[in-house]
Structure formats: C-alpha cells, structure tokens
Amino acid sequence: MGEGVITRAPHTISSLGLGSCVAVILYDTQQRIGGMAHIMLPDSGSLNGSQPSYKCADTAIVTLIQGLLDRGAARRYLVAKIAGGARMFANYGKLDNGIGAQNIMTIKRIMKAERIRLIGQDTGGHHGRSIQFHLDSGKVLVTAIGKQTKEI
C-alpha cells in the first residue's frame, strides 16, 4: 500500500486486494516501460509530516511520470489505466467516507491536467480487485472474487 514500482517489458507488476485504494498504471507504448502506483488517498495536503510520495494521488502521479521520463520514457507515448476505488461497505454510514470515489475523481483530474490519456479503467462498485500489469503487451488484467477476469 502506498508504494510504486517502475519496470520494463517483459516484467509483470501485480497488486493484490485493492478496495478503496487505486492502482494507477502508466505505460509508454513504444519503449514498453511502465509503472504502477498504489494510491491510498487523494490529497497529501491533509496529512502531517512527510509521506511516501506514492501514497497520495497528488504526489504519486507526478512522481510516477518523472520516474518514467528519467528512465527513458517519452511523455507523448504515455497512456494510463486505473483500477480500484471501490466502496467496500456500502451502507456503513459516515465512518466510510467514500475515499474510493474521491481517489478516482482526483486521479482523473490530475491525468487531465498532465494531458495523459486514460485508455482503460475498472473502478467503483463494492468489490475488491487484484490486478496484473503485463509490460510486454501493456495489458492489465483485473480479477475479482465471483467475477470474470477483465482486461482493461
């Protein structure tokens, strides 16, 4: 949770059991280099002290973009996919304040500002997700309990 990884084809990056957290995947379709951030919260401004940069959407996405550019990715070939952001306990009242939905909203706003195309997503709902990001093809597989595997 709150971590990020950058790697190249032919590796695979996976994340198990996303609930309200969101996996943000960026991929350079030409160089086949990509990365994933496991984002927990929308905004680092609400937190005290220094935080890991991948934890919150506002710092995570720029960190991921910069990390990719540093390793030779080109901004114009970057595409994004996102998965997660569920509300696991639908009727839990005020204790579950819809962090998942806030995460998704913030991530989309930042993608727009950074001019990165969002080409695939599987978000929201009330179930957990596990994802596998295959860097050789750029495919992202989303699995959930009792549901068919989905490719985004």
Binding site: G2, G17, L41, M88, F89, N91, L95, G128
Partner: protein
C-alpha cells in the same frame, strides 16, 4: 512480525492476558449459542503495522467473511471479525444444528449467523478491555462483507493513515468436536487511541502490582 517496536514485552504480556480473558468469555458465549462444549487454543496475539495484516492468512487472495464494526468511546477505531472461507461452513452448520425450528439455510441465514457471532466476539473483547483498562468503549452496529481481506481493510487504513498505524490481531481457534474453526479479531485504532490503550494498560498493570 516484530511486536517490540510498538509496545514493550511487558505490555504485550498484559495485552495477551487481557485478550485471553476476552477469548474465555467468547468460548462461553459460543458454547451457549451452539449448546455444546466449545474449547479453544490459546489465542495468538500479534501487533503488526496495519498495511501488513493480510499475510496472516495462508492465502490472501481467497475470500474471507468479514464483520466490520466501529469502536467508540474513550478509544476509537475499526473492528473486524474475520472468518476464512474454509472455516465458514462448519461454523454456520453448528449454529443451525443448535437452532430449533425452520432454518434459513440460504446465504442470508449464514450471513446473519456470522454477523451475530462477530457482534458477540466484539462485545466480549470490548468488555475485557473495559474491565482491565477502565476505558469506556463500545462497538457499533455490524456490517458484513465477503471479499479479499486486504480490500476490506484498505479504506480504514487509508482513513487513519495520517499517523503511523498499527493493528492488534487476535487469532482464535475454536474447537467444537472434530471441527477446528479459525477466526481473527482485528482492532485498528488511530495512533491517538493506541497511545490511550497502551497508557491505560500501563496504569492497570501498576495497580495490579
């Protein structure tokens, strides 16, 4: 798996003692509910960083049945009663055997049984903490969900993550005839409440000495 980072060995002993008493009460409650003898292994009590909880399961990608409640009062936090899928059926079966009259053998019946047991388990542990630490704490209404453990916890962990956060984990194995039913009870308090719990434990320990 390093407990000492968060509390002293002495405090951990006290915590274990407190949770043992809670578990003993859980056995009594469960045996009344099942109308047969219930035994248990000594509960395993662990303290882990909250994001590292899901490896307590043999296979974190399998579903668990989870009852979530809130802890309110002098200390706050989220409570989770967890039954791994492979232990769910025998628990539901045992309760239904002990219940006279027509049974709801469908999914809804099973869900309400696990919810009720979660409610009871939370109640006995809250009472143990209350009795030992002299804290007034209660648990709120339960909500049940079946999914991967990590996905069920990450919202709570994120919501409290402005401070370093730990989880108290109590693993109970209830033994009923040939069944061994493994369950977990998790307490996820924000850091301010961890401090309050640990302080109260320290004071209670001194009062006993």
């Amino acid at each position: 798996m390093n407990n000492e980072k968060f509390v002293s060995e002495e405090q951990l002993d006290f915590l274990r003692e407190m949770m043992n008493v809670g578990a003993g009460n859980a056995v009594t409650a469960l045996s009344q509910m099942l109308q047969r003898e219930v035994n248990m292994d000594i509960p395993a009590v662990r303290i882990l960083p909250a994001p590292q909880v899901s490896p307590i399961l043999d296979n974190p990608s399998l579903p668990v049945t989870c009852v979530r409640m809130g802890m309110v009062g002098d200390a706050t936090g989220d409570l989770f009663f967890i039954v791994p899928d492979e232990h769910k059926a025998s628990l539901i079966h045992l309760v239904q055997q002990a219940t006279p009259g027509p049974k709801d053998t469908g999914t809804a019946g099973g869900r309400s049984i696990i919810t009720e047991i979660g409610n009871i388990v939370a109640g006995v542990y809250m009472r143990a903490i209350h009795d030992f630490c002299k804290l007034n704490i209660y648990h709120t209404l339960p909500a049940l969900k079946i999914d991967m453990l990590q996905s069920l916890l990450d919202g709570s962990i994120a919501a409290m993550s402005h401070q370093a956060q730990i989880a108290f984990i109590i693993e109970n194995v209830f033994v009923v005839e040939e069944h061994r039913i493994r369950t977990f009870f998790l307490i996820l308090p924000p850091a301010s409440s961890v401090q309050r719990l640990v302080d109260s434990m320290g004071q209670a320990k001194m009062a006993l000495a």
